[in-house]
């Protein structure tokens, strides 16, 4: 009596047979017809082979350098980097030592950067990338600082309006005793007092108010507290 393992081994087809079976059963029916058997009338646009060749990338590179520059100068830097990845020819035309587009970028887009950092005669693409990277870091840092200033200034405005509301509500509670009974007024005043003390305790590390000194204002603007205060979160 053959064992189960042996049975399973005998029943499973050879790998080559399985491949051929799979090919015959499913893939063959999905295969496209060879070109001579296709119905040419169904093609929407029949482009001659010579025309498509002209549209390919290699022929763009056969254009004069001035025309290439006119075309490629409209690309952004990321597009230029993506263009490098399309073919070896484009990679060579962008990063090569005599690359017109790299020279154009250094001369026109970087403006006066090459006064600070003299461009090398060789490997200008690396130079361009490094300056772009440096500029991008500076831009991001400036963005973060600006956002921080913006955030803190907004906090100040919120605090200012909340303090105005608080003072007016205290005045209302003091000036309108007839509205509330004594007990209600006491509870109301104690609640306001607690809120006020909470606000002051939260405001101290990063508060910016008119009464405070300039030092505390600046410290508030660039306070390094780990999390926003209660009023900031609100």
């Amino acid at each position: 009596m053959p064992s189960l393992a042996k049975l399973s081994r005998t029943n499973t087809p050879e790998p080559n047979q399985a491949d051929t079976k799979r090919r015959k059963s499913s893939v063959a029916s999905l295969k496209a017809l060879p070109l001579p058997f296709r119905n040419k009338s169904k093609d929407p646009i029949q482009v001659p082979a010579t025309h498509t060749e002209k549209l390919s990338g290699t022929n763009l590179l056969n254009l004069p350098t001035e025309l290439q520059l006119q075309v490629l100068r409209h690309l952004s830097f990321s597009d230029l980097c993506a263009l490098r990845a399309t073919s070896r020819d484009f990679n060579q035309s962008v990063t090569g030592p005599e690359s017109a587009i790299t020279r154009y970028w250094i001369a026109s887009k970087l403006h006066n950067v090459h006064r600070l950092y003299p461009a090398p005669s060789h490997d200008q693409w690396r130079y361009l990338c490094s300056q772009m990277r440096r500029w991008n870091t500076a831009r991001h840092l400036a963005d973060m600082i600006a956002r921080h200033i913006q955030y803190k200034t907004l906090l100040y405005v919120q605090r200012h309006s909340s303090s105005e509301f608080l003072s007016s509500s205290i005045l209302a509670a003091l000036l309108l005793p007839s509205v509330y009974s004594d007990q209600t007024r006491l509870v109301f005043l104690s609640t306001i007092f607690q809120l006020w003390t909470l606000r002051l305790s939260c405001q101290k590390p990063c508060g910016v108010t008119d009464d405070w000194t300039a030092t505390s204002q600046l410290r508030g603007c660039f306070c390094t507290s780990p999390s926003p205060s209660v009023f900031g979160a609100g």
């Binding site: 952004s76 830097f77 990321s78 597009d79 980097c81 154009y104 250094i106 001369a107 026109s108 887009k109 970087l110 403006h111 006066n112 950067v113 090459h114 006064r115 600070l116 950092y117 990338c129 490094s130 772009m132 990277r133 440096r134 500029w135 991008n136 870091t137 500076a138 831009r139 991001h140 840092l141 400036a142 963005d143 973060m144 600082i145 600006a146 956002r147 921080h148 200033i149 913006q150 200034t153 907004l154 405005v157 101290k204 590390p205 910016v208 008119d210 300039a214 030092t215 204002q217 600046l218 410290r219 603007c221 660039f222 390094t224 507290s225 780990p226 999390s227």
Partner: protein
Amino acid sequence: MLLYQPVAQRIRRRMTPLLFAISHYLSSCQSAVLSSPAVLTLEGESAVCWTCVGSPDQYPYPVSQLLSMHYCWLFLEWIFNSLLSRPSYAGSIERAVRGWRSTPLDAGSLIQVLVHGNLGAIKQLFMLKDYGERKKWAKTFLRNINPETNGLAWQEEWEKMHLRVADIPSKTQGAAVLRGPSAGDSLWTKGAARRLRALGVDLGGNELHKSVEATMRFLTDMAGFDLFHEQPPEDFQEDDEDVEDDDDDDDVTQGADTESNEVPTAISESLDEEGANYWDV
């Protein structure tokens, strides 16, 4: 928030070229330090003398740019020190709970982080929320680039600074560079004051070092109004003087014919957002 959007745009537009120029200055400091010879210290160790930093060659900027850069530097120094200082508002209990009791970084280490980390270090520190995290990052950064503490991969860390292969120091030179600066060394101030004096501008004692007034004045100048005491005006608009055209055929000649050493002010105009975000450091 939209009320502040033009203000933020203006700050960003004005601050980016200054930060770029400061980045250039820090790079020149780094290359000066890496190319200077090491000397023997009293302890018998070789160390690079950081007095090479601050030579007039490192300030190739016109007067107006140099002044703006000076105030921007003071502001940046303020930020950098506050990022790596223990928060003063934290009481003893909070310090103990958060683990902020250990000694902060000394002045020499701060200079090292600034010179070798450049603006990327400040940006990284800015993104970390906690003082403990920031200090840990700075210590790890210094440990990683030090050949004595990171014997295996220290060269890879130096390569990440985008130095040329020839500029990456040897093992002994790297260790000597990192042993270099002391608390008395200052990066920008002395050299800038000397350079400004040579150009005919004499800064007073208060203007030389970071102060509240100088920083507030700088930020007010960046924002275009007194942002500490006023709200932005409703008809606030950016100055048009900084905004340059993007599509011009004379770009090549403009770049080639300019003879001044002005810090670039309009690279961002030529970079669209997509392109600028491509090099996300």
